[in-house]
């Protein structure tokens, strides 16, 4: 039970309502939720969430210049409370907001335009200390940390970053990940160094990577022992990408990752192999109008890869270890205008992201 913390100056407007039912209805009517019930963001709860990161409520974590908006610790805390988070998730959310508001991510355009949501990929020891699921049903429900951290980002995008569905966010289709889109990399099944170590954070550290992702496309190959047919299957699933530059996320299921590691492939080998396979001929691209100009004689033998370079393929290992599945997450249609950003957690942040005792995950319970 949270105790009412020390008096804290919170600047958000206060709203007085009769009871919790009235709160739920008021927030729904104002378009402040994702459509699901929320936890009422009382000043007491918000204060406790702000205290959990040891920062001032007014501290600005990031800015959106295109909207003349800032994201403060307080607004993050209000939305995290609403999402049902625990206060121990706050430091991870602070790092996530830092990542989202770095210029290369292009938070403004990816929030209001096109069918993507920021996919959060958490890696390193924080996955365990905060109770994130990296195993069975990694994109699915059933895990408090994944569900509520992803949801906190969603509510923040709606309430602070201009992503109000239908009003400003006029995405044609949206996707289910726009409710919550938070996965963790498996430490148990990853045969290689963690994902963040490919992206500038020390291998022993913890990090969150944000990637503006469409819905995952699954690549099933349950029949192959050797890596080649599996890589061909995954490369097929990469083809619906937009061919506009930028990156692509490949979540290797544990069985697929093991098949590759067994054959001696490094993660760089995997990237290189996918890069060589995931390509379309110019004639294919031209038939869909993806490239302009007159057809050329060598269109059938000239190829374009889904991303500009092998290193633009972000390889993560996650998921259950019983079936041969991987997943591809294509990027935002703007391609090179939004890049994945990785943000490390410092020692203090890591120390704050500890749930004690550890919450048993559904798979441990069963």
């Amino acid at each position: 039970m949270l105790r009412s913390s020390e008096p804290m100056t919170l600047s958000s407007a206060r709203i007085e309502l009769s009871d919790d039912t009235a709160v739920a209805e008021f927030f729904l009517q104002h378009g402040w939720t994702d459509g699901l019930p929320i936890v009422a963001p009382t000043p007491q709860l918000v204060s406790a969430f702000v205290s959990a990161v040891g920062l001032e409520p007014a501290e600005v974590l990031g800015q959106i210049p295109e909207q003349n908006r800032s994201i403060t610790v307080e607004k993050l805390a209000v939305n995290a409370v609403m999402a049902g988070c625990r206060p121990e998730y706050m430091s991870l959310l602070v790092a996530t907001v830092r990542a989202l508001t770095r210029t290369p991510f292009n938070l403004h355009s990816t929030t209001v335009s096109g069918a993507t949501a920021p996919l959060l990929i958490v890696s390193g020891p924080v996955v365990t200390t905060v109770g994130l699921n990296s195993g069975f049903s990694v994109f699915g429900p059933g895990h408090h940390a994944n569900a509520t951290i992803g949801r906190a980002v969603r509510l923040l995008l709606q309430n602070v970053c201009g992503g109000l569905p239908g009003l400003i966010d006029k995405s044609t289709l949206g996707h289910p990940g726009k409710f919550s889109y938070c996965i963790a990399e498996s430490q148990l099944h990853n045969p290689w160094a963690p994902a963040h170590s490919d992206r500038g954070v020390a291998a022993a550290g913890s990090a969150v990577t944000v990637f503006s992702g469409e819905a995952p496309i699954f690549a099933r190959n349950d029949w192959a022992e050797a890596p080649e047919p599996i890589l061909a299957t995954i490369a097929d699933a990469m083809l619906p990408s937009h061919f506009t530059g930028g990156g692509v996320v490949v979540v290797l299921g544990p069985l697929h990752a093991a098949a590759m590691a067994r054959s001696g492939m490094s993660k760089a080998d995997v990237r290189q192999s996918l890069f060589q396979r995931a390509r379309r001929s110019l004639s294919d691209l031209r038939s869909a109008g993806r490239v302009s100009g007159e057809p050329q004689a060598d269109d059938d033998t000239t190829y374009r890869t889904v991303v500009p370079a092998a290193d633009d393929i972000l390889v993560v290992v996650a998921g259950g270890h019983l079936y041969g599945y991987s997943a591809v997450v294509p990027s935002w249609v703007g391609g090179h205008e939004s890049l994945a950003v990785t943000e490390g957690l410092d020692e203090e942040e890591l120390a704050r992201c500890v749930i004690e005792p550890p919450t048993p995950t559904a798979q441990e319970v069963s």
Binding site: L10, S12, A13, R14, I15, E16, L17, S18, D19, D20, A22, V23, F27, W32, A40, P41, T42, P43, V46, I64, P65, E66, Q67, N68, R69, S70, I71, T72, K75, V78, N79, M82, N106, H108, S109, T110, V112, S113, G114, L155, N159, V160, G162, L167, I168, D169, K170, G334, E337
Partner: protein, 177 residues
């Protein structure tokens, strides 16, 4: 059951407390140096060029045609400053998507803040987005020039028609100043 609950507003509107004053546009286009800031959306360049022809018919002089390096981001400051230096009236657009529209609005208001009047072109479907963006920039009543959505798939003759509609709105705005 709680009988009384205090909760906090989760939103941040970004609205400026101080408003930005718009610069009075010229009453007469004769000799006015025109600047175009193309946001890079498909057909924006063609539309703006057709619009410039109509400005020329009213004796304005096309001084700069610049294209933003990125559709969904603000125009770099040097680009804005070049337009302000070389032009008496700047047209930005076309805001026909949520990401680009907010940015073209902010670009126009950045030019206004430096003392040069602007025309911001948006499509009907994104007028709400444009209004939210201009409110955030301190100009809640910005006089947008609005053309029918869509833009990207139009033929040359349809584009010319849209340019006529836009020019009629601009002439009416100048006459009413």
């Amino acid at each position: 059951m709680t009988t009384h609950v205090t909760v906090l507003d989760p939103t941040e509107t970004g609205a400026r407390s101080s408003s930005t004053e718009l610069v009075l546009p010229p009453a007469d286009l004769n000799g006015v140096r025109l600047g175009l800031l193309d946001n890079g959306k498909p057909n924006s360049d063609r539309f703006l060029s057709l619009l410039a022809e109509r400005f020329s018919a009213d004796d304005a002089v096309l001084s700069r045609t610049l294209r933003k390096p990125s559709i969904g981001r603000l125009a770099p400051v040097p680009l804005v400053e070049e337009l302000v230096e070389a032009c008496d009236l700047v047209v930005t657009g076309v805001g026909d998507c949520a990401g680009c529209c907010s940015c073209s609005v902010q670009d126009g208001i950045a030019v206004e803040r430096r003392g040069v009047p602007t025309v911001v072109i948006v499509t009907t479907e994104f007028l709400t987005t444009a209004r939210i963006a201009s409110t955030a920039a301190g100009v809640p009543d910005y006089p947008f020039t609005v053309i029918d959505h869509p833009l990207g798939s139009l033929t040359p003759s349809q584009l010319a028609q849209r340019a006529d509609v836009a020019m009629a709105q601009i002439r009416a705005r100048l006459a009413a100043r």
